[in-house]
């Protein structure tokens, strides 16, 4: 039997219930606004599981050396393989020293242009929790030998 237009059902207009979604969004927004920090934050380097600590000092702008379980990086740049570093008897890590020398030269050039004394500032070491002291010792020795006298160790803050 053919349906006529008169018998066809009219679909009711569906109004989306937005209230519950708005509730979620408001809560999410408040949480995110609360955790928002305007300063640029230091973030852990990829491949590094930092140890936890009760230290409370905030990280400062610095040269970041990341030590993963396999390699050493300065900023985002790969510098040396950990296996090669440990195979050597030298305390000084040559490739790391060269990278630090480059950074030092850049800072010196900048200071000369600005007409101020050169300040090397801080070096922050982001070491994986599983690395051995022998690696850390070599990195710290190299940093110290290259003229940086302030080192900070990055950790994940616990309460």
């Amino acid at each position: 039997m053919r349906r006529t237009g008169r018998h066809r059902r009219v679909k009711p207009a569906v109004a989306l219930k937005m209230t519950s979604m708005m509730d979620i969004l408001v809560v999410l927004l408040l949480f995110l606004v609360k955790s928002f920090v305007a300063d640029e934050q230091m973030s852990p380097s990829a491949g590094v599981q930092l140890p936890e600590s009760t230290a409370k000092e905030h990280p400062e702008d610095s040269v970041v050396i990341a030590i993963t379980e396999t390699s050493i990086l300065v900023g985002e740049d790969w510098v040396a393989d950990l296996s090669a570093v440990m195979a050597s008897d030298e305390m000084r890590i040559e490739k790391l020293a060269r990278e630090l020398e480059t950074i030092r030269a850049q800072k010196e050039d900048l200071a000369r242009i600005q007409g101020v004394d050169v300040q090397l500032g801080l070096v922050t070491i982001q070491g994986d929790r599983e690395i051995e002291f022998a690696v850390l010792q070599r990195v710290m020795y190299t940093v110290g030998a290259e003229g940086w006298d302030e080192i900070s160790l990055a950790v994940i803050r616990t309460t």
Binding site: M18, L50, P51, A134, S152, L153, V155
Partner: protein, 154 residues
């Protein structure tokens, strides 16, 4: 009340709030804040780079407190204090860490002028063990920790 008026009232009550502009704002704000959110808060522990000769000269006259971390124990040594060893079963032995913290607290209370501690590690000591001892020392009132190797091979 006339039927026409009742219908008009019903239309007024059923009017929806115009929330689309608010939704648009949320859709922009939430991804922006999510991108800038810090879920892991980082801290730092400041320390001096190795190589200072003055510290070693001073150490002979002062307390020269040192915590040695070995594979099976923590050992506390210093001038004029009783050397103590706290055996530990593994690197996550909480009991030994508590004993170490309690002894460091006693030493710090007896020597209020001393704020320094040397943390002497083996080449195979893990980084998180060193941070753990630094935390316990700082909490005991010895915030100036320096790191040293037990078998330095230059």
């Amino acid at each position: 009340m006339s039927r026409h008026r009742i219908r008009k009232m019903r239309d007024l009550v059923e009017a929806d709030l115009e929330i689309m502009p608010l939704m648009n704002l949320f859709v922009v704000l939430i991804p922006m804040l999510l991108l800038s959110a810090v879920f892991l808060e980082l801290s730092v522990i400041h320390m001096a780079a190795p190589g200072g000769d003055g510290a070693e000269a001073d150490a002979k006259e002062s307390l020269d407190l040192a915590v040695h971390i070995t594979a099976d124990a923590y050992r506390v040594e210093g001038n004029g204090i009783e050397a103590r060893e706290f055996p530990r079963e593994d690197r996550r032995d909480v009991g030994a860490t508590f004993q170490l913290a309690a002894y460091l607290q006693t030493v710090a209370t007896d020597h209020p002028d001393n704020r320094a501690v040397r943390i002497v590690s083996q080449p195979t000591t893990h980084y998180d063990e060193i941070i753990e001892v630094m935390d316990r020392s700082r909490e005991a009132g010895l915030p100036e920790a320096s790191l040293q190797g037990d078998q330095v091979s230059h």
